[in-house]
Structure formats: C-alpha cells, structure tokens
C-alpha cells in the first residue's frame, strides 16, 4: 500500500482541504456579519456605551470577570448582571462605588477604581447594553450566570 500513499497527494489534500474550508469559513463569516444586526443590540450602542466599553477595557475587568462567558473565572459573569441586579444601573453603580480600598479581609476583593459619576454611568450603560445582546438560548442558563 505504501506506493499508493504518496507525499504529493498528502500535500494536495493539505493545501486543497485548508483552502476549501477556509473559503467556507469566510463565507460563513460574511453571513454572520450580515445577520448580526438582528441580535447584537447595536441600536443601543450609544456614545455612553462606547465610552463604557473603553473603561471596561482600560481597567482590565476581563482579568477577573467573564463577559458572555469569556474572560477569567475568578469573579461573577457580567453579561447578565443588569438583570441580576434587578435591571437597575443604580445598583451596579452602587456596587462598584462601594468597594473598600484595602479589600475585604480573606476574601476575593474587587479593587476600588475611584470612578467619577460620569464614568460609573458609562460602565453601567455598557453592562446594560451587553445584557441586551440576544444570545442563543438566552445563555447563561440562569440568573446566577
């Protein structure tokens, strides 16, 4: 059988197969990007939300939390925190604001970021927008995230 298992054919399958599936992947990506407006909550992408996303990034929130299940697994999921906090941006702001500077002895502690009122509002709006994204099967399975 060895004579009919040739390197040339193996090579062709490698190149041909990868190109084929990569093209399929590009096609699917185009379709996905086209159909995102139905689910991605872009109508609520306000200037505040955009500023909130920047704050989210500049404070490396993903380093402890997950957002839609992606990130670190050290602190609670925030993709549904708006719902979990009773659909209240005020509750989210109050939580972030009230973190003690020196942490809570012996427990996992969220840093005190000293945000301004404006920044707190932006972050809360970003989390509200994230909660509004229509995710398949309404993931996470329940309100606890």
């Amino acid at each position: 059988m060895r004579e009919t298992f040739t390197k040339g054919m193996a090579r062709n399958i490698y190149y041909g197969g990868s190109v084929f599936f990569f093209l399929v992947f590009i096609g699917l990506t185009v379709d996905t990007v086209k159909s995102l407006p139905k689910t991605d909550n872009r109508e609520n992408l306000t200037a505040e939300v955009i500023a909130g996303k920047r704050l989210w990034e500049h404070n490396n929130c993903i380093g402890c939390h997950t957002l839609l299940g992606e990130g670190a697994y050290f602190a609670p999921e925030l993709g549904n925190v708006y719902t979990r906090f009773g659909e209240s941006t005020e509750a989210i702001k109050a939580f972030i604001m009230s973190r003690p500077v020196e942490g809570i002895p012996g427990r996992r502690s969220m840093p005190q970021f000293n945000f301004t009122d404006q920044e707190l509002e932006e972050l809360a709006q970003f989390l509200k927008y994230s909660d509004g994204i229509k995710v398949a099967r309404d993931w996470p399975p329940n309100i606890q995230g």
Partner: protein, 467 residues
C-alpha cells in the same frame, strides 16, 4: 550541530525558560489567590497576576517557536541563517519589549498603562490575552516580520523540506492572524467574533502546524526513520487539523450573539478536532517503535512522546468534553474551561518547545546528548511536571463539574461567590499540584547543570530495525 548560526537558538531558549519560570511563579500566586482571596491585594490584584501569567506564557512560547525555527531551519535548508545579526537584534528587541510590558503590568495600574501608552489613539488593550499595549503589539508585528523574512529567505534560498515549509506557513499564519488584534470595534459581538480569529486560529490552527513540524523534526532526528514517511504523515495530520479546526472556530460562537447555526457547525467540526491529535499520538509511537537508531538523548524522545499523548488528552479529550453545544451551554466559562486550557497549552505547546529544547540544547553545547545523570534529572522533571499538570486538570475539572451543578444545573442555583466557597477544597488541591509542578520545573532547571559521563549514539542494524 552543523551550522554556526543555529546557536542563536540558545539565546531564545534561555529567555523562554526564564519567562517560563516567571509564568509558573505567578501561576502559584494565582492559585493561592483562589483560596486566600486577598493575598497580595491590593498590590498585585488577581487580574494583574493573571495577565502576567498568560502573557508570559504566550511570550515564552513565541520565544520557543522562534528559537526552534532558528535551530532547525539552517539544518533543514542546508545553509547558514540568512541574517544572524537580525535574529540577535530581534531577540533583544523582543526581550526588552516583553520585559517592559510585564513591568508595566506590575508597576502601574492598568488604566495608567493604557494612558501612558496612548491606547486611545488605537484602542486594542483590555481584551483577554491581548492586554499588551498597542505599542507592544506593533513591536510584536515588527519582530514577527523580521523573523519571517529571516527564516523565509533562509528556506527559499536553501533546500526546501516539507518540515521547513510547514513551519513557515505556520509562522506566516501566526503573523497574519495576529493582525486581527488591532481590530477592536465598539460592537461587543463583532469584537468577540474577530477576537477569536487571533485566539482560536492561533492555538487550534496555525500553532498546530508549528507544533507538528517541530515534532516531526525531532522524531526524524531521534529515530532515524525515513524522512519521506514522516513527511507524508505530517501533511495528513495538519490537513486534518485545519479541516476540523477552521470551522471548529464555531464552538466559540455559541453564546456571543452569533447566528444559531454555529451551534451545529461548531459542534460537528470541533467534534473532529481530536482526530489529528489522536493521529499524532499513533504516529509518534509508531515512528519510535520503528526507529533505526537508539539516540542517546532519551529525554528528548520522552518529551516527544509525552507531547503527543498530552496534546491528545488536553486538547483532544478535554476539548471534546465540553465542545458540544448542549454541554457547553452549562460548562461555558466555568472551571471546566480552565481545566482544558491548562492541559491543552501544556500538552501541545509547552511540551513541544521543551522537546526541541531537550533535543537541541546538548547539541549547541557540543554534545550529542546530555550526560546520563542530567537526563535522569530531566526525566524526573518531565514526570513531575506532567503528572502535576494531570492533577491540576483533574482538580479543576472536579471544581468545574461541581460549579456547573451548584450554580447552573440544580433546582436552587447558588450565586457565583457562594459556589466558589463550596469548591474551595479543589482549589487547595490544585494549588498543591501547582507547587509540585514548580518543584518539577526547578529540577528541570538543575538538569542543565548536572555533570556526568557523556553518552554516545548507537546505530541500529538495518535488519534489526526492520524486524
């Protein structure tokens, strides 16, 4: 070692091992923060330690890949490296940029780092694994381009082998997909979708090409098996890796707001992702059993076989465990993911870099293989680190299963923090395994300095090899 310029790899490997040590130290800190929540708080909060842990991993693996390329490409191409000075220059640029970035993480708050590196000009920071300041990302691109140029010119003006060409496609793919890290749209769904173009298409795509070619190279060297045979298996394995892995990206699109069809596509294709890893395991054991010589570097052979097995377990089995959409619905973003991540990265990428280091370091130090005692130390390190990693994975899996049940599946779901309290015991056990891993790593470091009698190559008689 046939060519002088191959020895540049030594620089890269030393840096890689040094950063590896840093990564593990921070891993141990993180493990402790999981059980003693305010450990080092607020000086080194969890997010900073984690960023250092993951970024060091990425950087040292890149050092390892580059060192490996600088070592094997001249030999495969049968010529000196195109521009050794460029390789040296890039080494220092990359090392300084990497060190400054890590120091930046540790010295100033992340928001300050974003400010002083002018992230607002081209915001790319603050996304998992892509936390590096934009200027560092630009640096990575420059280093990668110079590296590709150097390696590419060496390959294209010398003998072209399958191994070096596959390695080159892997490296080019690595650079190309990294460019998606500069795309950071305001739209969170789009952001996440294309973020995976870097993360998934690296570790479940082009990095597999690099890994497979490095493994094939070492297997040719330590077993003396016909290159022709190894090369066609290499092609088939990486073909399967890409055929399953490219659309397999879909397993990350289940719960981020992408269309529903990804649940089917992602499940079907990623269910096939273990196949190339399984083939790699069969292939590695097959080649070693058909070896034509008994290479004195037993440790390198052990690492090579270990890579194949652990990559299959970590990336293949533990990946499959939670890749199907109905399962992933419950496990997504829990400790199950962490378990898979640890074993997959160790099995596939850490181990393949340690394999090539194990094979090439003695050659660069003027021996065929390290002395018998040094190899004994190295093999102890292999078993300690590997078994420790298996236990880290098992404990995290236990933690994950319990977490899924308590927080997501039971009739009275508990809060995240309450659940974490309940699974503390697993985190303590994991930390214990992590310390064993660190001990293994220390023994690994010692193995480079152990003295003893030199060992020599034994060529097998052709007839004996065939039997």
């Amino acid at each position: 070692m046939k060519y002088k310029s191959q020895s540049i790899a030594m620089l890269y490997f030393i840096a890689a091992i040094g950063l590896f040590v840093g990564q593990i130290l921070f891993g141990v800190i993180l493990g402790l923060q999981y059980v003693i929540g305010d450990f080092l708080f607020p000086e080194i909060p969890f997010n900073v330690a984690r960023m250092v842990h993951t970024n060091l991993l990425i950087v040292w693996l890149l050092f390892g890949f580059m060192g490996a390329a600088y070592f094997l490409v001249p030999e495969e191409s049968e010529r000196e490296l195109y521009a050794p000075w460029l390789a040296k220059l890039m080494f220092w640029i990359f090392l300084v940029a990497g060190a400054l970035t890590i120091l930046g993480y540790l010295m100033v708050p992340y928001a300050t780092l974003a400010e002083i590196t002018m992230n607002d000009l081209l915001p790319t920071m603050g996304r998992e694994f892509l936390e590096q300041p934009t200027i560092t990302k630009v640096g990575i691109v420059i280093v990668a381009l110079a590296f590709i140029f150097n390696i590419g010119m060496t390959i294209l003006t010398g003998r072209k082998t399958v191994i070096s060409l596959v390695l080159l496609t892997g490296i080019v793919g690595l650079a190309v997909f990294f460019l998606f890290s500069f795309y950071n749209p305001h739209n969170l769904v789009l952001d996440k979708y294309f973020w995976w173009f870097v993360v998934h298409l690296w570790v479940e795509g082009v990095w597999e090409l690099i890994m497979a070619s490095l493994l094939a190279y070492v297997l040719i060297k330590v077993t003396g098996v016909d290159r022709e045979v190894i090369e066609k298996w290499l092609y088939i394995i990486i073909a399967m890796a890409l055929i399953s892995g490219i659309i397999g990206t879909g397993h990350h699109f289940f719960w981020i707001g992408a269309p529903d069809y990804w649940q089917w596509l992602g499940s079907v294709f990623s269910a096939l992702e273990p196949i190339p890893f399984f083939m790699m395991t069969l292939f590695a054991f097959n080649v070693v059993s058909k070896r034509r010589r008994d290479h004195p570097n037993k440790a390198a052979t052990l690492w090579a076989l270990g890579t194949a097995v652990m990559a299959f377990l970590g990336a293949g089995v533990w990946g499959f465990l939670h890749t199907l959409a109905p399962v992933n619905f419950y496990t997504h973003g829990t400790q199950i993911t962490a378990a898979h991540g640890h074993m997959a990265f160790y099995g596939a990428y850490v181990m393949v870099v340690l394999t090539i280091i194990s094979y090439s370091m003695p050659l660069m130090r003027g021996q065929q293989a390290a002395n018998a005692r040094a190899q004994l130390f190295e093999m102890w390190a292999f078993w300690l680190m590997t078994i420790a990693m298996v236990f880290i994975t098992l404990f995290l899996t236990g933690a994950g299963i319990l977490q899924v049940y308590l927080q997501r599946y039971s009739d009275a779901p508990m809060t995240f923090m309450a659940t974490q309290e309940k699974i503390q015991i697993f985190y303590w056990l994991r930390e214990g395994a992590g310390v064993i891993f660190l001990i293994g790593l220390i023994i690994y470091l010692i193995s480079f300095f152990v003295k003893g009698e030199e060992v020599k190559m034994v060529e097998r008689h052709a007839a004996e090899a065939a039997s």
